[in-house]
Symmetry: none
Subunit: 138 residues, 4 copies
DNA sequence: GTGGTCTAGACCACG
DNA sequence: GTGGTCTAGACCACC
């Protein structure tokens, strides 16, 4: 029984394989997926998410390339031991970059700064609550 | 009086026409491009940016559809007076979509929710400061 | 179960891509095209209608922007669930614009206001009847 | 002093010259512009409407071609004596055609039939009131 | 297989 | 001069 759930948003502008990569990378970085954790097989995950198996293959391949996962021939994919660590500068750079894109998309929608901040805070709270619940069960 | 310049980076994963749309839309939203401003003609801008004219046409057409620009036959494109094109539901939908993408990019960077919220608030403040300064000059 | 066919008249003063947009939009609004319906692929439709594929791309893209269709990468275009994309103000603006054009075409025909109103009412009734019949079959 | 005013909607999808043609044809057909009436000169009208003189030239030329106006060399343009008369069938055909286009544009805007009928009735009333006031002054 | 973007160039309509 | 449409064909990304 796996307590970690990937959720994909169909019809989003970001392709499915990238959503998977992002979420697994995230979960590994935050510890939701501990080192050595056995990822669901390509087949199983494809069925679960109702997507093409090739999409999963592509996502796992990219995660291996990034060092997030390790492929053990014939056994499957496992979360790598050595976690990716970013320097403070790199992390800040990435945050600012994501912010740029976010602001660009949202600025013209005529929401007040308060509304936007509130929405961001809400989402972050949801996310952390979800992660905590996964950790508690683990 | 500051000239408005569009800058594109070819080879980016965001298509050229979208880079143009985003920049013009933002500039119009903040008032950097005032209503009535005559945009550079399709052919001129295409030459300036070293892209095909059809790419500019596509970008301008999308901006017209969003109510940011107006097309006057034989005269060119002009910045439109601000109006609310999208329904509240649609705007919320778009905010949530942008949020999705932002959160997924940012969550695994190990910033606290407070830090992220603060960064967002700061950026929004910058944006509104810019808007106010444009208004003051008018 | 009635097949849905798009019919275009080349050489009309309304461009091909707009003829497609109008027909699909109306069919979706009346329920003739149910939500989830898989539209013919760009290439197939281009072949059927004997027009360039880019013309279809343009039409479908516009329908996506209006919320009528959804694009699923690698799978095709599907009729979207109905939602309110435009603000009340925008919808009113569009109604007034259509009215302008209609009135100018019709006023000089020397029909009385009553006759014209009656004709409009009749057509609208036909439309709603069609909508109801589609719902009833569902 | 001319009591007949052409009003153009800039930014409409229908070109300016066509708006002029439609309105003059209409006014001539309803009698608002009596036979023999001297149209404003190309220059004057261009100034009044704030459009290019060539646009007026084009509109007048089309009206002459249709038999609505007559050009008297060196004196200007005059409303033709023999008014265009359509057969009942032709008038009905044109009404239905205009209706088609109107319904197409409006159907997906989610206005109730009542709202639309009311809007149409209102516009027709405005138009007739305007025509009556012009006639009264003549 | 699907859609998405971009280029190049033609032709038309509008002002 | 301006924008608007359409064609033809290339190349890419996604599934």
């Amino acid at each position: 029984m796996s307590e970690f759930r990937i959720e994909i948003t169909t019809g989003s502008r970001t392709p499915i394989y990238r959503q998977i990569v992002d979420q697994v990378r995230l979960a590994a970085a935050t510890g939701a997926l501990p080192a050595g954790y056995a990822m669901p097989s390509v087949r199983i995950l494809a069925e679960e998410l109702l997507v093409n198996a090739n999409t999963i293959v592509k996502a796992y391949a990219e995660l291996v390339r990034e060092g997030v996962l390790e492929s053990h021939q014939g056994k499957g994919f496992f979360v790598a031991a050595k976690r990716q660590v970013y320097s403070r500068a790199e992390r800040t750079r990435r945050l600012q970059q994501a912010l740029d894109s976010f602001i660009h998309q949202v600025a013209f929608l005529d929401f007040s700064a308060d509304e936007i901040c509130k929405a961001v805070a809400e989402r972050l709270q949801d996310l952390h609550a979800q992660l905590d619940s996964v950790r508690a069960r683990a």
